[in-house]
Symmetry: C4
Subunit: 271 residues, 4 copies
């Protein structure tokens, strides 16, 4: 299991940076992934801008959004978004909360994002809205209380995404890679939809088309192509995350066959 | 012929990257060119994002869009677009299918792109639309069946380009260079047309102007200038494709004087 | 005090470059900070584009916007904006005057920027306008006279920002970091507000939300994250300012133990 | 005089690249300057994209737009624009013809660009339009005949710029630096004006303001700041032009003191 854990942590750091580099995340926003073996925990960075996140920034949280180990750094204020959604949706393995410029006009005008091109179907039909004001009155609009997180999770329901009025969006996925492509395609869709309104009335996908096209982002053909593309763009910009530090990796139990015997250690043999 | 083939394959890789770097292609979309000597075949990359394509990714296809050699990699799902157009249009030597942000609003609002500046005339008058829904009902909007490809080719007719509702565009050219400039100018035209609508009613080129200006992109003056410009921009971004690998190039018939004799081979002499 | 001064000067150069790199400032615009120990003075660069400013460009001014030392370089024509606001607002420790593309449409159409997302609340409710024409008739629109500066400061009142018709914006902060984040968030807010109008009617924050969200930019959580993010982006673009030159730093009173005695000086000993 | 010539040629190459890097020119468009000592001639590059122009590309033309020396390269088709304007306007020392994305919507919708911010006043009041169709009927819209150039120059009249319907813009200046800043500020003005229309009705500068603000771009304060800024941005992108080649520079008369005597030459002495 430990290698799977290291891989997932490195993939999470990469996902953060890809989403930042592709314009979904900026100085704010965050991405989490459910723990690979314990569905009652999830992984999320300490409070840091997504473009800068390293594997060593990733912390483990309970579904109450409490850090499993005493934190040495500031935490994201809005981590209840993640915990509450993982509690409500056992099918969800990754969550992204963002304020992408492409979706903000929809969150501000209160107008629905509807699928207007094949890849945009990943956002699903009838994307719901959640207005913190409705249930909680005047707030600073940050989702920081458990009851706020649960309320948001209820608004999300079984949808792939929910829009937060005057705030941003929250997107979920059955895997980190599905989440990343859905988040990016949803922003492209929003951008195309808004600009199409300068020409006339957008003509959205039919419900049957949304259902059939909604899974395009998960075709092996598409996943391999997009992941290589987004990673390459990030790399070309000098933005690839470092590997997990060996100190952290050393926490994993060493398999018996690989253990150094006390005698070998005395002889100075090192792997 | 073999050198001509290598040149064309390298030009095709470059064309892919130029179109990606200039914002016509993104993670998706593809460009093909008809085989230089066998009009019954065409060249197209394996499934890969255009910005990353190398000469060694280029495969040879029949006009039924079957790979001539057993493929070792994933193929583009929508390659029938290319094969069906090469079947229908003997004058076409290059095809590009894309989802450029500049044209998407037109594909979504169902509004025609019309030439609004001299270089935009390369897109021609009365650019047709093709809606997959009309003939095939609900699909995932990918053009993957032969009958879908033939239907799209019929809609293209003798035009230089066709818009696919809720999907993207397909552009053709009498050469790779004509295709590249037409695709780029068409996106500029769409962008200018959309923004002109914020000011009032765009006043398009007269039909006589479209006819005279439609060939500007093929003037020696223009071709040499644009190809140098787009290549330089790509190079400045570190994006030039590698040359065709010598292993691949070695497939070409080796001239007699350069052949290794069986005796030399036994002695271990290698070129 | 001298180290505090050097730190502040270096932070001011960095603030200039961050605001330029994030699209608030361009070839024009300027940022000042109040003197760390003498509230009757402020620090501002010589006339130079903000992206290029170095600590050694920073000069000291009286609140009449006269340079404290005879200047060797050209000065900003509009520095009275800074002096007059520092005179009128003892709570203000930093001022930015800019012509960001995001706010210009509002300055031109005379339409108010209103907070439409949580971070945009930093701009406050009821942002005032100031039209130089009203009081001074035809000018070249530069704010260069003391009476123009005082008039602008009166229009600003107790607000965090004021819009200048057909010209730009002036923003204030209780610290350089508050000023930087407020300026950036205000531009994002303006951009989102304008694009939301393509969809319908923007639904702004409630007054209670503005009050609660207006201080988000000053949370330790947020300040540390954004400052690291903006600095990193600037650094990735190769744009970090140099340190203050040692020659300038040497102006600070030299501690006794480090002083060169007249005798040592005669012997040619130099630090 | 010869050094003045080299300086001007190098400044012209730099002006081309600055205008391309700032988004005024793209693969097309061109900038010329009147000959420093012979008002009957002007300097313009061979046919090449402006971002790539080197001092050695610059050729000398008569006001009939004929190259003074037999050209070894392709020439711009539209160079009559330059010659005809230099004939008509003795005050003009530099000309730029471009198709900047910012001005194209105005050329297409036939709506006037009006000064909406102080620096935009450089474009002047009542910018005229010229429609090639009016006088010449259907053309490919390129301005290639002497009579087309003269007609365009008449439309320009005493204005600083003229818009060409469905084509682009032509801008003039009393010096290269005035031309560069005017061209850039005019594009910014067009961009702000267009986006202000999404908010309401732009409120332009009063005629008296246009007159007073129209010369801002020529203040020493402004010229030094902008030229340093635009050059630095170009340099940061690796785009600075090379110096004029010594072979070309050697054409200039060598001062007596520096001349190599025949005797020295025989001895092989070389500077």
């Amino acid at each position: 299991m430990p290698d799977k854990m290291t891989d997932l942590i490195e993939e999470l750091a990469l996902a953060n940076r890809i989403l930042a580099h592709e314009g979904v995340l900026d100085g704010f926003g965050h991405v989490s992934v459910r723990h690979p073996t314990d569905p009652g925990r999830y992984l999320l960075s300490r409070s840091r801008s997504p473009l800068l996140i390293e594997p060593d920034d990733i912390l483990e949280y309970t579904l109450d959004s409490e850090p499993v180990r005493p934190p040495k750094a500031l935490l994201y204020a809005e981590r209840v978004i993640h915990g509450c959604i993982y509690q409500a949706r056992s099918d969800v393995r990754a969550v992204c909360h963002h304020h992408a410029p492409a979706v903000m006009p929809f969150c501000i005008a209160g107008k629905p994002i509807v699928p207007v091109f094949h890849l945009g179907a990943a956002g699903g039909l009838d994307m719901p809205f959640w207005d913190q004001q409705d249930e909680f009155g005047d707030t600073n609009l940050l989702v920081v209380k458990q009851e706020e997180g649960h309320s948001l999770a209820r608004a999300l329901g079984q949808h792939p995404a929910v829009l937060l009025n005057r705030h941003g969006a929250t997107v979920v996925g059955g895997s980190l890679k599905e989440l990343v492509s859905r988040s990016i395609f949803m922003c492209q869709n929003a951008d195309y939809q808004l600009r199409a309104m300068a020409l006339g009335t957008p003509d959205p996908l039919r419900p049957g088309e949304v259902e059939l096209a909604g899974v395009l982002g998960m075709l092996p053909n598409v996943v391999s192509r997009t992941w290589e593309y987004w990673s390459m763009r990030l790399e070309a910009a000098g933005g690839m995350p470092p590997r997990r530090s060996s100190a952290k990796a050393a926490r994993r139990p060493v398999p018996k066959s690989a253990r150094v015997t006390p005698r070998e250690r005395r002889k100075g043999r090192r792997r």
